[in-house]
């Protein structure tokens, strides 16, 4: 990775005072300075500075966790952009959704990418879980991170479900009616949980606003915290689970 030839533009940039004041060091030419570059960066410090080559092979992970995270980033960006045109109010929400599809420039692209990425993320997270499970990735010392992953799976499902109401169409309305009636089947607390999550007895304006706040603020914040812990624990628990055959040779 290090260039031994004449320093390029990037190397000259890295030697400047401004670069050094931001990143606290110059070009990373040795393993030590490369490690320090990762340690000293807020966005990288919870990632490992060294990984086993085996664990980078496609068959070790199929990059399913990274794909899930990438989809989460896509969903965050496209979701924030959709929020600029969306009012979480009945019946304005439905009109805003129609406007996004037919009036707003590139709105249909953003809406579709948000919807598709959401469906793919549920798929990727499930596939990730099954892959980790069948490789025995839940075994010590990874058992805590497995539990964090299960929480992330549940948060993903809740994000998917709360987002389902926001178009405020017939599909959304009846899906939430049916789903919250399933909630009310819980013993003792069921009726209360349904009332609190809808903010009433029927799927109405209160329910739309509640699901919007959960979808856009509460659940993403929970997801970000747990994703950070999840990544950090991968490193602290000694990297990915590697098995014989991950390097492509027959065991």
């Amino acid at each position: 990775m290090a260039t031994s030839s004449a320093p390029g533009a990037l190397d000259r940039l890295r030697a400047t005072r401004v670069w050094k004041s931001i990143f606290r060091r110059g070009p990373a030419r040795t393993n030590r300075t490369r490690s320090l570059a990762v340690f000293g960066n807020l966005f990288l410090h919870f990632l490992p500075v060294k990984v086993r080559e085996k664990s980078l092979r496609v068959r070790a992970s199929y990059y399913l966790g990274s794909i899930s995270f990438l989809l989460f980033i896509i969903l965050t960006v496209s979701g924030v952009l959709l929020m600029f045109y969306y009012h979480p109010a009945a019946p304005q929400a439905y009109r805003d959704m129609k406007d996004l599809r037919f009036v707003v420039s590139n709105g249909v692209f953003l809406r579709n990418i948000h919807r598709l990425a959401a469906q793919l993320m549920v798929l990727a997270v499930f596939w990730h879980m099954f892959h980790v499970f069948y490789r025995g990735g839940y075994k010590p010392p990874h058992e805590f991170n497995w539990v964090v992953g299960v929480v992330l799976l549940i948060v993903t499902l809740f994000l998917s479900y709360t987002g389902y109401l926001l178009p405020w169409d017939q599909l959304a309305f009846w899906a939430i009616t049916v789903g919250t009636n399933i909630l009310s089947a819980m013993p003792i607390i069921g009726k209360t949980v349904r009332f609190e999550s809808l903010g009433g007895n029927v799927v109405g304006a209160n329910a739309l606003l509640r699901f919007y706040v959960l979808h856009c603020v509460v659940l993403p914040l929970i997801a970000i915290v747990f994703i950070a812990v999840h990544f950090w624990r991968v490193q602290k628990d000694g990297g990915l689970t590697v098995r014989e055959g991950d390097d492509g040779k027959q065991p």
Binding site: W174, T177, V178, T180, E196, G199, G200, N201, A205, N206
Partner: protein
């Protein structure tokens, strides 16, 4: 830090053995933790109260269904806004809920089949609410129906009555 403090305290009152309740510092610490705990619990309770709406803008549970003459004999009339069927038979009037007892979808009266059918999961009911088919666990409930002083039908959706109670007009 606590070690050095203990040493100072010990030097000042060597003759007094430490009481079982611990030091004053421990006591104050417990008081502070207890106060914080109560405040935390209290804030959770008031947040829960805050999130429970006191006023709802939902359709009223008691409504007037108009003059009985509006409903012909042996008819089932769906009131969309109230989600109730007004059924008139030779026995009299009764009000049947249109909300499926399975998962809360609104059912539809199908005159060609003489059945009330749910579009979500296929439950079917007779016009008196009795279940015929599908996953619904209970028959459709009957609501209390009465006549007002000026001769209109009045339905109270909060009062469930037996299926044999019909209003004779």
């Amino acid at each position: 830090m606590s070690d050095s403090n203990d040493k100072v305290a010990g030097q000042q009152k060597e003759s007094v053995p430490p009481k079982s309740g611990g030091t004053r510092r421990d006591f104050l610490g417990e008081i502070a933790a207890g106060a914080l705990g109560i405040a935390g619990l209290g804030s959770m309770v008031v947040t829960y109260q805050y999130l429970s709406p006191n006023v709802l803008f939902e359709p009223p549970t008691t409504f007037r269904a108009g003059n009985p003459d509006l409903y012909p004999m042996d008819s089932v009339t769906f009131l969309l806004e109230q989600q109730v069927y007004i059924v008139r038979t030779a026995q009299g009037f009764y009000a049947v809920s249109a909300v499926c007892t399975h998962l809360g979808c609104v059912t539809q009266w199908k005159p060609e089949d003489n059945l009330i059918e749910c579009p979500c999961h296929g439950s079917k009911f007779q016009s008196d609410g009795t279940k015929v088919a599908g996953p619904a666990p209970r028959p459709l409930p009957h609501f209390a129906i009465s006549l007002t002083a000026d001769g209109e039908l009045s339905v109270d959706k909060l009062e469930i009555v037996g299926a044999n109670q019909a209003l004779k007009v």
